[in-house]
Symmetry: C2
Subunit: 436 residues, 2 copies
C-alpha cells in the first residue's frame, strides 16, 4: 500500500488537536446542560425527499447507494444530512408524542455537503446546535435566552471574545411595510449583501425598484447598531410606523436588555443582519470572533415559526448553530487554541525488567484508581531512554518503582525535580490536559 | 408534511436514552484516557478502493454520490467506513511521521453497513475502539493490557458482569501444525462454527479432511477453558508439540494471569474462540455479557501483525471494539440500563409574572454558576401548573422566588418537602442524572 494522502474538504485533526476538540465539546455540552438542554443525536441519513423538501438545492447533497444493491431492491433514496435542523424537525414530528414541550435539545454531529472544497469550507464538518421548540406557540423570551447560552458556552473557552449580533425579522418587515414596500423579503435579500457590495450598490438596487428616499431609509435602518435598547430611539427617529415594526422593536429590545444584564458587551442589536434563509420569522443571530471578523459568522441562527408541521400540529422554535470544525480550523491555523499536553497520560511508570512488569502494572493500577492517567513503559530500556519516551509523548511525570535500597520516586521531567513517591499526587493543573 | 416513520436499521434514541448513551460514552472515554489512550476521530468516508482493499465484500458498503455532480467531475469514489480499523490503518500510514509510537488511541464513531436490517443488526451504529500500534514490532504484553482496559471500562457501568474470552492464534496454529495439519486456517474456520453446528458436525468435517484422531484432538483443544494458566497443562496433556504452540501458550498464559491479578473472573482462556477474520495473528478476544450470552460477543478484537504497511514500514497492533449501539439496544430492550432522571435539569425556577422574568433569570444564572442545571418556567402559569411542568419533565426541584413576605423557597417535588432557599444546594446524587 502506498502512503495515502488527505481528501480535500474532509478535515482530520491530529490526536493533540482532537484532544482540544474534545475539551471544547465537553465545555459546550456542559453549558448546554446547565441550561437544561437534553442531548440528542439523529441518524446521519434522511430520505432524499426530506432533504429536498424546502427546495434546498443550494446545499449540495451526498446521496447513498448500497454497493451490492440488487436489481429490484426497493429501498428509499437516502442522503447524508447537510445540517442538523432538517433532521431535528423530522425527529420532532416523528416523536412528538414522546417529547415534553417546550423541548430543548442540543445536538453535536457531523454534517456533509458536497460543495467545492475551499479555504474554511469543508465537505464534512462538525456542528453544535441548540434549539427550543414548542407546540403551537413559542413565547418570545426564548429568543432572549439563546444568546445567554451561547455567550456562556463560548466564553468558557480560552478564545478571543465573541459578539453576538442580533436583529429581528418583524422589525425589518414592519419597517419596510411601513414604507409601503410590498415585497419586504426582496429588500432583506438586497440588504443581506451590504457587507459584500457596499451601501452604494445596495442603495442603487433598492432605489431602482422603489425610490431614493426609501432606499435611504432602508440603509439608515441597516446602519443602526447599539448594545442596549437605545437602538429603538434610532429606529423611531426614522419616522416609519407599522404595528409589526413595534412588535419587532419590543422583542429585539428584550433580547438586547436581557443579554446586557447577563454579560455586558456580549450582544449588539445590529440592524443590517439579515440572514439569507427564508424561514426565520423573529430574532436572527450572527456571531463574530474578535480578530477573525473577516471569516464571517461562527455561530448563527434565529427564530422560525414553522420548524415542522403535520396536520394541525405546528412546531415553532428558536435555535442557533456553532460551526465547530470551522471555528477550530481558524483557531488551529492561527495557533490560537492549544492544550497543556498532547496526551491524556500524566505518569509513565518506568520498568526495571520485563519480569518486573507486574510491579509496574500494580503501581499504574493504583494511580488510575486515584484518577491519574498512567502508562507503563513499553520496554525495560535504559532509564534515560524511558525518560526520553515520556518526553517525546509529552507525559510530565515518570515514576521509578523501588529498586534495591531506593524507595519509589517520581520525577517531573520538565523541572527535573525528583521526589519520594509516597503520598505523591500530581498538582491539580497536571491531572488532565487543559485548554489554553 | 405527513408524520415521518423510522428507517429500518437506523436506530435513534429518545432524549432520555441518549442521556444514557452519553454517560456510557463518558465513562468509556474516562477509562480509555486513564490508560493513556488519545482521542481520535477520522472522517466518515474513505476512498472506495481502500474499503475494498482486503476483499471485504462481506461488509456491505454504502457509496456516496454528489446529487449535483456534473458530467466530467473527476472525483474519487467514496464510501462510508464500515468499521474503525480500516480508517485507523489509513490514518496511521498517512500521519506516521507525526505520531509517537507505540501509539494508543481510542475512537468512538458511527459506522455504516448496508446489510439487511434484522433484530440487533443495524445499518448505522456506534462503535468504541481502542488500539495500540507500533512501528516494526509490538511487544506481546500489550495483548495482556487490552482486557484490563475493557474490564475497567465495562465494569464502570451498572450493567451485568462481563467475561472476556481469550484465545491465541499461534496456540491454535502451532497445535494444528503439530498434528501435521498443513492448512490450519481451514481448521480455524471449521472450529469457529462449533457453537452453531455442534461438536459432531465439526468432528465430521475435520475427520473428512484428515482423520478421526486429529478431529478428536482439535475438539479436545477447543473444549479447554480456564481462568488461570492451568489451561496450559490441559493443552500439554493432549501430547502435541510445536514451537509455535509453546509461544502461543506462553502469551495466552501471560494474558490470563495478568488479568487474574487485576480482576479475578474477568478473563477466561477459552480455546474454542476462533474469530472469523483472517488478519489476527496472536491473542483474540470475545466478550460475553451475563444473561445476554445468546446475543453473541459485545466486544471483540485481537492482535494483528500487519495493520498497515507502506514500503518498509509495517505497523503491528492489538485492538478491540465495543459495539455500543448493539449493547445499548439489548440493554434498553431488557430495561436493564436507565438514568435517574430524563433531563439534565435539576431545578425549575418558578415565575410569578412575565414582568418578574429578570428576577427568575437571575436566580437561574446564580444556580448555573454553581454548576446546578436550571431552567426558568416557560410561562407564569398557576403554581400548581408550574410544578406539574417540572414533574412532567422529570425536574426534581422547583425554586419559588421571594414573594411578598415569603423568602425564596425550594420544593423537592418528589417528597413534597419545602425548605428555605438560602444556602440550599441539591444533594450530591441529584446534581446530575446518573446511570442505574
Amino acid at each position: 500500500m502506498t502512503r495515502p494522502t488527505p481528501l480535500s474538504g474532509f478535515p482530520e485533526w491530529l490526536p493533540e488537536q482532537r484532544l482540544v476538540e474534545q475539551q471544547v465539546l465537553d465545555r459546550l455540552r456542559r453549558t448546554f446542560e446547565l441550561y437544561g438542554f437534553s442531548p440528542l443525536e439523529t441518524r446521519a441519513v434522511e430520505p432524499l425527499d426530506q432533504l429536498l423538501r424546502k427546495g434546498e438545492t443550494s446545499k449540495e447533497i451526498y446521496t447513498l447507494h448500497r454497493l451490492q444493491a440488487a436489481e429490484g431492491d426497493d429501498e428509499p433514496s437516502l442522503g447524508l444530512h447537510f445540517d442538523l435542523t432538517v433532521p431535528f424537525a423530522r425527529y420532532v414530528l416523528e416523536n412528538a408524542g414522546k417529547l415534553q414541550f417546550p423541548f430543548r435539545r442540543y445536538q453535536i454531529q457531523k454534517v456533509w455537503r458536497g460543495e467545492r472544497p475551499a479555504a474554511g469550507r469543508y465537505r464534512e464538518f462538525l456542528q453544535a446546535d441548540i434549539d427550543i421548540v414548542d407546540r403551537d406557540t413559542l413565547p418570545s423570551h426564548y429568543e432572549a435566552e439563546i444568546p445567554l447560552v451561547i455567550g456562556d458556552a463560548l466564553r468558557s473557552l480560552p478564545i478571543p471574545p465573541v459578539k453576538i449580533m442580533v436583529n429581528n425579522r418583524k422589525l425589518c418587515e414592519g419597517f419596510y411595510r411601513g414604507l409601503d414596500i410590498d415585497e419586504p423579503e426582496e429588500i432583506l435579500r438586497i440588504v443581506d449583501k451590504l457587507d459584500k457590495v457596499g451601501p452604494d450598490a445596495v442603495k442603487a438596487e433598492i432605489a431602482g425598484k422603489y425610490d431614493e428616499a426609501r432606499a435611504d431609509a432602508c440603509l439608515a435602518l441597516a446602519a443602526i447598531r447599539a448594545q442596549d435598547a437605545s437602538f429603538a430611539d434610532e429606529v423611531r427617529k426614522l419616522g416609519v410606523e407599522h404595528p409589526l415594526l413595534d412588535e419587532g422593536v419590543a422583542e429585539l429590545a428584550a433580547v438586547v436588555e436581557t443579554a446586557r444584564e447577563h454579560s455586558p458587551g456580549l450582544v449588539e442589536a445590529t440592524l443590517k443582519i439579515a440572514r439569507g434563509l427564508d424561514y426565520y420569522t423573529g430574532t436572527v443571530y450572527e456571531t463574530e470572533l474578535a480578530g477573525f471578523e473577516q471569516f464571517g459568522s461562527i455561530c448563527s441562527g434565529g427564530r422560525y415559526d414553522n420548524l415542522a408541521s403535520a396536520g394541525r400540529d405546528v412546531f415553532p422554535g428558536v435555535g442557533i448553530s456553532i460551526g465547530v470544525s470551522r471555528l477550530l480550523g481558524l483557531l488551529f491555523k492561527a495557533e490560537a487554541l492549544t492544550v497543556s499536553r498532547p496526551v491524556p497520560t500524566a505518569v509513565l511508570v518506568a520498568l526495571w525488567s520485563e519480569q518486573d512488569r507486574p510491579v509496574s502494572n500494580r503501581i499504574a493500577a493504583s494511580l488510575r484508581s486515584r484518577g491519574i492517567a498512567t502508562e507503563v513503559a513499553p520496554v525495560p530500556a535504559k532509564l534515560g531512554k524511558q525518560i526520553r519516551h515520556a518526553e517525546r509523548r509529552g507525559i510530565p511525570f515518570v515514576w521509578f518503582p523501588a529498586n534495591g535500597d531506593n524507595p519509589d520516586q517520581v520525577k517531573d521531567i520538565r523541572s527535573g525535580e525528583q521526589v519520594d513517591a509516597e503520598g505523591w499526587a500530581p498538582p491539580a493543573e497536571d491531572i488532565a490536559p487543559t485548554l489554553r
